[in-house]
Subunit: 270 residues, 2 copies
């Protein structure tokens, strides 16, 4: 039965877990398989070609697991590879940029939206283009925050170091009169309380990953492949890096889920 | 060009204008055609068969206008007719119930969601079923508010009569410890400030129509039929009832849009 098949999630590391957290809340009946390319994280500073190659390696791994839908739970990979992957796969493929865009366009009242993301995502101009294709008048201010992913991957997102780096990185954005800020990297929701504190309560933060689950849910309904009865959903986690560090972050973030990840090797070493 | 074709909206009356308001904000480039069956409003107390017949008459009218997508911007008609219409049409068809459901499931923290709608919508059990198919543990408390549509259609939604009726109607819901309330009728957002006041600031109101535009936007992207450059979007409005009253409400709600509706006759008199 198609609806029993898992949904596949890929990310450069642990960031996509913020998307999985929303699946567990909004679509608890869905079986899922997650793959984080922790060993080669971050993707942000890599060339587009490299990101495309790595992303396809992850996709190939999940296709063998018979997934019914693919979620590219990584903004950098979405910006680089969504179109080509969507074109070639027969299953629905969802990226995180358009859902974040739509939510921001819906949320803004003053027409000034900020976007923070990796170097790769910001350089691609994907958010700015997608927003202005919808509403040309909206002003989009983008900022690369290259240090944020490392803070999360090294499990330092609760520390005072995180506070200092976030505060310094977002300094220039605070004068931009934004009413909406897109967290354009799935790692960033782990820093959400700090980011909200720095930007102030009047700025609406858009979690691109959480918004993506709205699209996933919609497509499951639209193609009639939702899993409607499955009280014991199966969730499998794979990482290309240390399972120890992955489990530590995953269990902190997804509690009470008990994550016991497996290591896989992608690419050349196959 | 497919992307230049209009999106069609149907409603039992003026309620769907709350959905159009969101289109104007989130998708200002889209040409639209709206048809409100004001002469036969409300649909809420009618039999399912009758609602299906009337809805198909509206759909037939819009199909002749070469729409690229159909939005059933009426909860009663969605509950009664979405499935059969979606099955028979070749263009994407969107109803308002699933988008409202998804937004509510995302918003709730305590797992207690209220739903208010017409008699027909509440009797169909559509919201409750859709919510619990996603997350079985969520408690759904539904309440029919049969007087609300008439308040709106008679342009009394700013009055003290509206306040009194809303307050009395929602009395029983206030003890239900809801943290989320679905406005399960597209007329209700016109009463939103009053409903929010009665329910209290801690209850998140879900506007099923506004949420629907997220789905519309998603499907336009998914099928690559979004209108990306169209600074002079065309918006045409039709009503089966009085154009005078329709224009009055439409111009109040959609300002600064200048609505000049045309009257059409559906069904027997064709």
């Amino acid at each position: 039965m198609k609806n029993q098949q898992p949904i596949g999630f890929i990310d450069s590391g642990v960031g996509g877990l913020t998307v999985v957290k929303e699946v567990m809340k909004q679509l608890p009946n869905e079986n899922i398989i997650y793959l984080g390319d922790t060993a080669r994280c971050p993707y942000g500073p890599r060339s587009t070609e490299e990101v495309i190659t790595f992303t396809w390696q992850m996709v190939d791994f999940l296709l063998k697991k018979d997934i019914k839908m693919l979620v590219i739970a990584c903004n950098t990979a979405t910006a680089a590879a969504l179109e080509s992957i969507k074109e070639k796969l027969l299953i629905p493929v969802v990226g995180v940029i358009l859902p974040g865009t739509r939510a921001a366009v819906k949320a803004t009242k003053n027409g000034r939206i900020g976007v923070i993301g990796t170097k790769g995502t910001v350089a691609s101009g994907s958010y700015k283009r997608a927003i202005q294709e919808k509403v040309p008048e909206i002003k989009v201010i983008s900022l690369a925050c290259p240090k944020f992913v490392s803070i999360v991957e090294s499990n330092q997102y609760h520390t005072s170091v995180a506070k200092k780096i976030v505060s310094e990185s977002l300094f220039s954005l605070r004068r931009q009169h934004l009413d909406t800020l897109i967290l354009g990297c799935t790692h960033y929701p782990l820093l959400r309380p700090i980011i909200q504190n720095v930007m102030g309560e009047t700025v609406t933060l858009i979690d691109s990953g959480a918004e993506t689950i709205g699209e996933v849910s919609m497509l499951l309904d639209y193609f009639s492949i939702a899993n409607k009865k499955n009280p014991q959903a199966r969730r499998a986690f794979y990482t290309t890096g240390s399972t120890l560090l992955f489990n530590e972050i995953a269990n902190d973030w997804l509690a009470p889920e008990n994550v016991d990840s497996k290591q896989v090797i992608l690419g050349g070493e196959k």
